[in-house]
């Protein structure tokens, strides 16, 4: 054999060895729980990468050693992208490959239950809830949404509100208008603004959730909490006349939005409000963080038209996957997330309120204080656009129908498609 050939064979052997090393490596340093306390790695998976979200998450990490002791090394595993679409894709791949992170962020409601609980990927947390007394500090509405067959499966860390109307105070004062409380008022005000060349409602739906969320707030405003909830359980008929009315109101609302909405994100739409080119926008209360980050203070808020007394809620939760590495450390992470100290540290930074009802209001700003008052007094309903109301498969069909509708404004087709989607999802007969 020539010298060349021998070298080549050595090379091939080296490559083969590398393959084996890659395939078999990466299996050490898990599940080390010596008697002296918690140690090893704890991987927390989320899509919190920027601004207050990342800062709040960091606070929780700082609390961890205080509450749990030990020498746990927290690995902050994030996938950027608003709303978590990219993160969910990575998470799905890992869960299917039996490589779950210690704990992961997931929206409360059907996104949690139908993706991970009914499919048997999660551990129930009933004993943890009992031990920590959480059944008394979380509202019953929230406990119901995170539970499946009577057992809770995730710890809610925060509550966001989806049905908020944000407005530029200066625009309203300059034009002698009052911010609208009902949909009828909204249309009147919007006509007046339009006549003056101001975009009444800013919308940025390059991420389709923004238009779905707008539809959900209009449905809520027109139908009320009970009939709105019925849409997701089959109790409200999608083909009923009141749904037709509500969808027509949604259609009319779209007459008042900026024409370039499909090229903007929700925060770019907020720029229109800040600059006074637009008067209002309907967006969840994470928008307040955007206002603050852009040093804009002259804003006001109301429940979105017709939804006073109703809290359209979404929440981020953390759970315990089956086969999670370093389970003891994960359980303590869940204790931190659900604790009063943890929620009081996280939420003022994130711009959301505590899921617990016993947080100290003085730690929060004026908007959040008003939201805390509403949270205790209002009827709580699950948000559609953010995975609380329906399972992911149903939501993508609704999203497709709404995307088509926003362009062609054909309300009858929208209603038929929404009714069909409910059937496909197995909820409507």
């Amino acid at each position: 054999m020539s010298r060349h050939a021998r070298w080549l064979i050595v090379l091939v052997a080296l490559f083969a060895a590398m393959f084996v090393a890659i395939a078999c490596g990466d299996d050490d340093d898990e599940d080390k729980t010596p008697s002296g306390g918690l140690s090893g790695k704890l991987e927390i998976f989320s899509w919190w990468t920027t601004g207050g979200e990342a800062a709040g998450l960091q606070k929780l990490y700082e609390l961890y050693p205080n509450q749990c002791g030990g020498t746990v090394n927290i690995v902050n595993s994030t996938v950027a992208g608003g709303g978590g679409a990219q993160a969910r894709q990575v998470l799905t791949t890992r869960m299917l490959g039996n490589d779950p992170p210690g704990s992961f962020q997931v929206h409360m409601g059907h996104e949690l239950i139908d993706s991970w609980v009914t499919t048997n990927y999660m551990e129930p947390l009933d004993s943890l809830f009992k031990e920590q007394g959480w059944n008394d500090v979380f509202p019953k509405g929230v406990l119901d949404i995170v539970s499946y067959q009577g057992k809770p499966y995730a710890v809610p860390v925060n509550i966001h509100r989806a049905n908020v109307l944000w407005y530029n105070k200066a625009v309203f004062t300059a034009n002698g208008l009052q911010p609208p409380k009902t949909l009828d008022d909204f249309f009147k005000v919007a006509d007046a603004l339009k006549a003056k060349g101001i975009t009444p409602l800013a919308l940025g739906d390059v991420d389709s959730f923004a238009s779905i969320q707008l539809m959900e707030t209009v449905l809520l405003g027109k139908l009320g909490a009970t009939a709105y909830n019925g849409l997701w359980t089959g109790a409200t008929d999608w083909k009923a006349a009141n749904v037709t009315d509500a969808l027509n109101a949604f259609k009319k609302t779209l007459d008042y939005v900026n024409s370039d909405h499909s090229s903007l994100s929700w925060d770019q739409a907020n720029d229109l409000v800040i600059s006074g080119k637009a008067a209002m926008t309907i967006m969840g209360d994470w928008l307040e963080g955007d206002m603050k980050a852009k040093n804009f203070t002259n804003y006001g808020w109301l429940p979105s038209p017709g939804t006073e007394g109703v809290y359209d809620a979404l929440s981020d939760t953390f759970g315990l996957p089956k086969n999670a590495p370093n389970k003891a450390a994960v359980l303590c992470w869940l204790k931190v997330v659900g604790s009063k100290a943890g929620q009081e540290a996280f939420n003022p930074l994130k711009g959301s309120i505590c899921a617990r009802t016993d947080c100290n209001p003085s730690l929060f700003d004026a908007y959040l204080q008003s939201a805390m008052t509403d949270w205790k007094a209002n009827t709580i309903v699950p948000s559609l656009a953010h995975g609380a109301a329906v399972k992911p498969g149903w939501l993508t069909e609704i999203s497709d129908a709404v995307t088509a509708f926003v362009a062609n404004k054909d309300a009858a087709t929208l209603q038929n498609r929404l009714a069909a989607a409910c059937k496909t999802a197995g909820v409507c007969k």
């Binding site: 054999m1 020539s2 050939a5 080549l8 064979i9 091939v12 490559f15 083969a16 393959f19 679409a85 969910r88 894709q89 799905t92 869960m95 299917l96 139908d114 993706s115 991970w116 009914t118 499919t119 048997n120 990927y121 390059v206 389709s208 024409s259 370039d260 909405h261 499909s262 090229s263 399972k391 992911p392 498969g393 939501l395 993508t396 069909e397 497709d400 995307t403 088509a404 509708f405 926003v406 362009a407 062609n408 498609r417």
Partner: protein, 331 residues
């Protein structure tokens, strides 16, 4: 057999052994990670897997039937056809025009060649982000005339939801109906205006590549042929029409295949530039596959879309491979 021949034979076998040893790792990797996964996708595409938990119950072609009844997928097929025709046509046209201009041995040819080819070095993601800003209605080219005091353009580009199609109540629509083609009077057989923005970006990126292919093709045409035609009194246009274009046919075919398979499976440009677009005006099967699989957990539907995309590309590529292998064998 004499001793030197024997040694040669031994050397050949040992070289062969090395060659095989070198090929085996990549062959195994390709077999598993390409063909194995294609086969697995095919299995998933005829299964019932509709939540996160895998479910391989066989359901036949149900998923494909669902897809063809899905309004979004119908729009995606339309968009793919429109995009492919416009993109391939524009790239061939512009690429050929640039090549014939450069073929005149202009000064600084190398510089121009690099300038035109350069966009190809950029990834589609970058192209998408740049053109998203350039064509945004309140920025970029729309406000360019404003900067020189010529008023602004008010065109929506990729935010324009208009779909050009034959309306059923027009004379043309009625004429179509009378010959039994009434189904064509439907937005699903139309041209969405927004997709032209994506075509512009893709053409910007790929036409330089077509130019280089054509330039090489033009340079390969012997000058004698053209000189002979000139002696016979042919005009430059006639030379182009009757000599260059026919002799460039293999280049055109190769370029069409390369561009065509790219446009059938395009994803990165669209997701970074326009995503679904207004009313799915710029939606493509790749995007639909990604969303239905990873946001909707409809794994079997996603697999079915990817199998259909594979079939579409195969229809284009496989005959081409046969054709080029036959040509190679002949040469």
């Amino acid at each position: 057999m004499n001793s030197s021949g024997h040694r040669l034979a031994r050397r050949l076998t040992s070289e062969r052994a090395v060659a095989i040893a070198l090929i085996v790792p990549s062959a195994v990797a390709v077999a598993v990670f390409v063909y194995g996964f294609i086969a697995w996708s095919a299995v998933v595409s005829v299964s019932e897997w509709d939540t996160v938990r895998p479910d391989y119950t066989y359901v036949g072609l149900d998923n494909f039937r669902d897809l063809f009844n899905n309004f979004r997928f119908q729009i995606d097929i339309r968009n793919t056809v429109v995009f492919t025709v416009l993109f391939v046509g524009a790239c061939l046209g512009i690429g050929f025009a640039l090549a014939s201009l450069l073929d005149r041995h202009v000064r600084g040819e190398g510089l121009f060649r690099s300038i035109y080819l350069f966009p190809m070095a950029v990834s589609f993601i970058v192209t998408g982000v740049v053109w998203r800003w350039l064509l945004a209605p309140r920025a970029g080219v729309n406000i360019l005339p404003e900067k020189v005091g010529a008023g602004s353009i008010d065109y929506g580009w990729y935010t324009d939801p208009t779909v050009l199609y034959v309306h059923a109540d027009t004379r043309l629509g009625e004429a179509l109906h009378s010959v039994g083609l009434g189904f064509l009077a439907n937005p699903n057989y139309g041209v969405p205006l927004a997709i032209t923005s994506v075509v512009i970006a893709a053409t910007w990126q790929m036409s330089g590549f077509v130019m280089v292919m054509y330039l090489a093709g033009l340079r390969a045409i012997p000058d004698e042929l053209r000189d002979a035609a000139r002696v016979d009194g042919a005009s430059e246009a006639q030379i182009l029409r009757h000599i260059s274009v026919p002799l460039l046919r293999p280049v055109t075919l190769s370029a069409m295949i390369i561009l065509g398979h790219q446009s059938l499976k395009i994803f990165d440009l669209v997701i970074s530039m326009t995503r679904r677009g207004p009313g799915f005006a710029t939606d493509v099967p790749g995007l639909f596959m990604y969303e239905t699989t990873f946001q909707g957990n409809h794994f079997s539907h996603g697999a079915a879309v990817s199998i259909l995309m594979l079939l579409a590309v195969s229809v284009l590529v496989i005959p081409y491979l046969f054709w080029s292998l036959r040509r190679e064998a002949r040469l």
